[in-house]
């Protein structure tokens, strides 16, 4: 009986000890220097639903401005991303962009291709 109680207590402790997740939406807005001829724009990142293998396309909302929205289910306070234009990664051999989630549901992240302002 004692062993059973201890086992149940241990299992409850362990189930309660998984990091809590929350939903965070990030609106990514990317400005691509107008001198470039742009065919495809996408974003890749560390955390699901993004990945480093496959890019999520950005939609054109202005002459050289592109946007997409990504919803993460995460326990972290930040994520890492990079933009890809015409199949070419930005910031090669440089650190990824760090996107800190705001405490509200939605984070707005504005970036210029190839310029890491973090």
């Amino acid at each position: 009986m004692r062993t059973l109680s201890l086992t149940i207590l241990l299992v409850l402790c362990i189930y309660g000890c998984v990091q809590k997740t929350y939903t965070r939406t990030v609106v990514y807005k990317l400005t691509v220097p107008s001198t470039d001829s742009v065919t495809t724009v996408s974003i890749k990142g560390k955390d699901e639903p993004l990945s480093w293998d496959e890019g999520k396309p950005l939609e054109k909302i202005d002459s050289n401005v592109y946007q997409t929205m990504v919803t993460y289910k995460t326990g972290y306070l930040f994520t890492e991303v990079k933009f890809v234009v015409n199949g070419n990664f930005e910031l090669e051999n440089q650190p990824n962009r760090i996107v800190n989630f705001s405490k509200s549901d939605t984070t707005f992240y504005n970036a210029v291709f190839g310029v890491n302002g973090n």
Binding site: I14, C17, G75, Y76
Partner: protein, 158 residues
């Protein structure tokens, strides 16, 4: 208990010192790097947002993907695996309860080798295998002279 703690000593102190080096290095790496990234300890990276003794949110999903019993109890196995790395690393470093924690680390590394890394090729199994080999000899030898197990059992013997 004393039997479990009492280390096997080598003939000279310098032999114990040399053989303690891998234990100290891997204990340190397990608790400060591999384990701390997915298990909440005071020195876990702040941006990982882990509470004390919390396992990272993504780890149970990874563990569930191994299938079988891991799929049935992913939180339990994720917590145990992360605990054995992060806390087991501290105990390995200190040479305290060296044998029980070595066994726990061996189990975790076997899972890492055969459920996680083997599909990515043998080369990728080497880090987990390296830790497992070190834990294998500490499971047999105990802490040696350079660990708390030795100090505890030495004092009790007097």
């Amino acid at each position: 208990m004393k039997k479990i703690l009492t280390p096997i000593l080598l003939p000279s102190w310098w032999q114990d010192l040399l053989i303690a080096i891998p234990r100290l290095v891997y204990g340190y790496l397990l608790t400060t790097d591999f384990g701390a990234a997915k298990f909440g300890l005071p020195w876990s990276p702040k941006e990982n947002n882990l509470g004390l003794f919390e396992v990272a949110f993504w780890f149970p999903n990874d563990v569930a993907a191994y299938g079988g019993i891991f799929k049935a109890f992913p939180e339990f196995f994720a917590w145990m695996g992360a605990f054995s790395e992060a806390v087991g690393g501290i105990f390995l470093l200190l040479g305290l309860f060296t044998r029980p924690f070595s066994v726990l680390i061996i189990c975790t590394m076997l899972v890492a080798i055969f459920c996680q890394q083997i599909n990515a090729g043998t080369w990728n199994t080497l880090p987990a295998m390296g830790i497992m080999w070190v834990a294998l000899y500490t499971a047999i030898m105990g802490s040696g002279r350079f660990g708390l197990d030795y100090l505890i059992t030495k004092r009790k013997l007097k």
